[in-house]
């Protein structure tokens, strides 16, 4: 069959604009940034000098601390961004992220409770944070099914209620916490940081994060269907709501695992998918992989700033919010995102 050669070129995927950025560029940038990040920090490697001995402090630091931290930054950034993309698609709203289901507040409450009860035992703080984010998710889903089964708006309403519940709980814990020993820990956690990451933490969290990322990568085209009205997606063949609930849970779980390790890192899930849609278009078939890569790149940049800008560690959430909101304002004022 002959198709008229009109505006559509041979390549199956055409971008909204003749954008010059492609996925392979993003891979390149990601690899470059990982390499740069590996070699800057408190112990820098001078490229003009010979490599230090194998058991020197530099290599110890490099392999035991900096390497897992940077790897985790990549997958955590990717995970938060993908989670945001999925939530925005399901909720038909470019401003949604996993926080809409109450998980962020749940995680914050859990971590604060962990600090109050277990002090500096990181594993318990993380476990408590993870558990409470799941409890928040379960509460949101239960409550929403009381309001109206199989619909999206009740989820939002239930999420608001559950968030408020846990943030008041968090307020109580902050009020009760020892202002010298515990409160700074809680505040630091709430601002997010990857400073405690080691191989153990990396392994524990990547067991969850990587399979979910792979799942969403293969699900990338079908995710589009969730952006359509219920009747339309039903007519197209997506007849049950369990599939929506499944991917919703996977996306929220992804965020829950990440913030139980990193603390509340805001704005990544919001800004990266929006930026990605502006550059690569609305079709999640192409946006998914680019969201993964951009999320990783964004997180490494923020985390590298957090650990190198000052002699002491700066909370990661400060940079993600700062750069994220600047990017958001840029996209809004240049009409890349339409209000």
């Amino acid at each position: 069959m002959n198709f008229p050669k009109l505006s559509h070129p041979e390549s199956p995927v055409t971008l909204n604009k003749p954008s010059q950025i492609s996925t392979s560029h993003l891979w390149l940038v990601l690899i470059l940034i990982v390499l740069i990040a590996l070699f800057i920090g408190r112990y820098q490697l001078d490229p003009l000098q010979e490599l230090p001995d194998a058991d020197s402090v530099f290599w110890q630091l490099f392999f035991r601390i900096r390497f897992p931290r940077i790897l985790l930054a990549v997958i955590a950034g990717a995970g938060l961004a993908v989670s945001g993309l999925v939530m925005q698609t399901i909720f038909h709203n470019p401003l949604a992220d996993a926080g809409i289901m109450g998980v962020s507040q749940g995680a914050g409450f859990g971590a604060a409770l962990g600090i109050l009860l277990f002090g500096n035992q990181l594993i318990w703080v993380q476990t408590s944070s993870f558990l409470f984010s799941l409890i928040a998710l379960a509460l949101t889903i239960l409550l929403s099914s009381e309001i109206g089964r199989g619909k999206i708006l009740p989820l939002v309403l239930a999420g608001i209620a559950v968030s408020a519940l846990f943030s008041s709980g968090l307020g109580i814990i902050k009020y009760l916490a020892d202002p010298i020993n515990q409160l700074p820990g809680i505040v630091f956690w709430l601002l997010g940081s990857l400073s405690a990451v080691n191989w153990g933490i990396f392994t524990r969290s990547s067991i969850f994060i990587l399979p979910i990322l792979v799942f969403f990568f293969f699900y990338r085209w079908r995710l589009n269907i969730h952006a359509l009205d219920k009747q339309v997606s039903f007519s197209l063949g997506m007849k049950t709501s369990w599939e929506t609930y499944l991917i919703l849970t996977a996306a929220v779980l992804l965020t829950a695992v990440i913030i139980s390790v990193s603390g509340i890192v805001s704005w990544v899930g919001l800004i990266i998918p929006n930026f990605s849609r502006v550059v690569f278009g609305a079709d999640t078939k192409s946006t998914m992989i680019n969201t993964i890569l951009l999320g990783g790149i964004f997180m490494i940049i923020c985390d590298t700033l957090a650990r190198t800008l000052l002699p002491g560690e700066i909370p990661l959430g400060i940079f993600t919010a700062l750069i994220g909101s600047a990017l958001f304002v840029f996209l809004l004022t240049t009409r890349k995102i339409r209000a």
């Binding site: 009747q231 007519s235 063949g237």
Partner: protein
């Protein structure tokens, strides 16, 4: 013109929203031959959208069945994946898709889980856009095109689905006179290609040339299935629309 053997068989369909509430449909039966155009007529609130939702399978009937019957088989319409294409009156599309990306979503029932559209799907999208004279729109953004063009793009999404039956919920309501005419032309074109079309309308004066059958609905009357020509010089329309009306 392609002739279709078989029909959509609706048997004793009964539905009400609540157990004690008034029936929207009671014991309604009809056989709609495939390849025909059927208009669902009635005032606002007479149950047209409910009937479409029953056909779509979104609402389960209290009793009765909707089956697709051809010479070899007879099965529930709702059990055939992607058998019903649906054009809602208004459709919220939250992200700014390109026309071809949006039309591709119609292929869902043909694309395996964890897979992406292939060459064949791309070709079908081009054929469909071509057949609707929309080839120029392939790369346009949905937010750049007009309401009438968007209507065509949404129909392209349904054609890409290759459904047995196309349902349209008041497709003419939000269109101006020019786009209304081109919609009815399109309905006739699709009819000539052998498609089965069922659409609702609250304006019976518009449908006489674009329907073979009519389903008449009213809050106070039993639903009736008639051939459109039977409406000529009859009092039926006046009865169902509660005002003096003749074709």
């Amino acid at each position: 013109m392609k002739t279709n053997q078989g029909f959509l068989s609706i048997k004793s369909l009964t539905f009400s929203y609540q157990p004690q509430a008034k029936f929207v449909l009671r014991n309604f039966s009809c056989e709609i031959p495939l390849g025909t155009r059927t208009a669902i007529l009635g005032l606002n609130g007479s149950g047209k959208s409910t009937f479409l939702n029953l056909l779509l399978g979104m609402l389960p009937p209290d009793s009765g069945s909707i089956k697709l019957q051809d010479y070899s088989s007879r099965q529930d319409l709702s059990s055939i994946n992607g058998a019903v294409g649906y054009l809602p009156q208004l459709e919220n599309i939250p992200f700014d898709y390109l026309v071809h990306q949006y039309v591709m979503l119609g292929r869902l029932s043909h694309i395996p889980l964890f897979s992406v559209p292939d060459e064949n799907d791309q070709n079908i999208i081009r054929e469909v856009l071509d057949s609707l004279k929309m080839a120029d729109f392939y790369d346009k953004r949905l937010r750049e095109i007009s309401g009438g063009e968007l209507q065509r793009v949404r129909l392209a999404r349904i054609l890409a689905q290759e459904p047995e039956i196309i349902l349209m919920d008041e497709p003419a309501t939000h269109l101006d006179i020019k786009n209304k005419r081109s919609l009815y032309e399109l309905i006739n074109d699709l009819h000539n290609e052998g498609k089965t079309l069922i659409y609702s309308s609250h304006d019976p004066l518009e449908i006489s040339d674009t329907s073979d059958y009519c389903v008449l609905m009213s809050q106070n009357k039993e639903t009736r299935f008639v051939a459109t020509y039977e409406l000529k010089d009859s009092d039926l329309l006046s009865e169902y629309f509660e005002t003096e009306l003749r074709l």
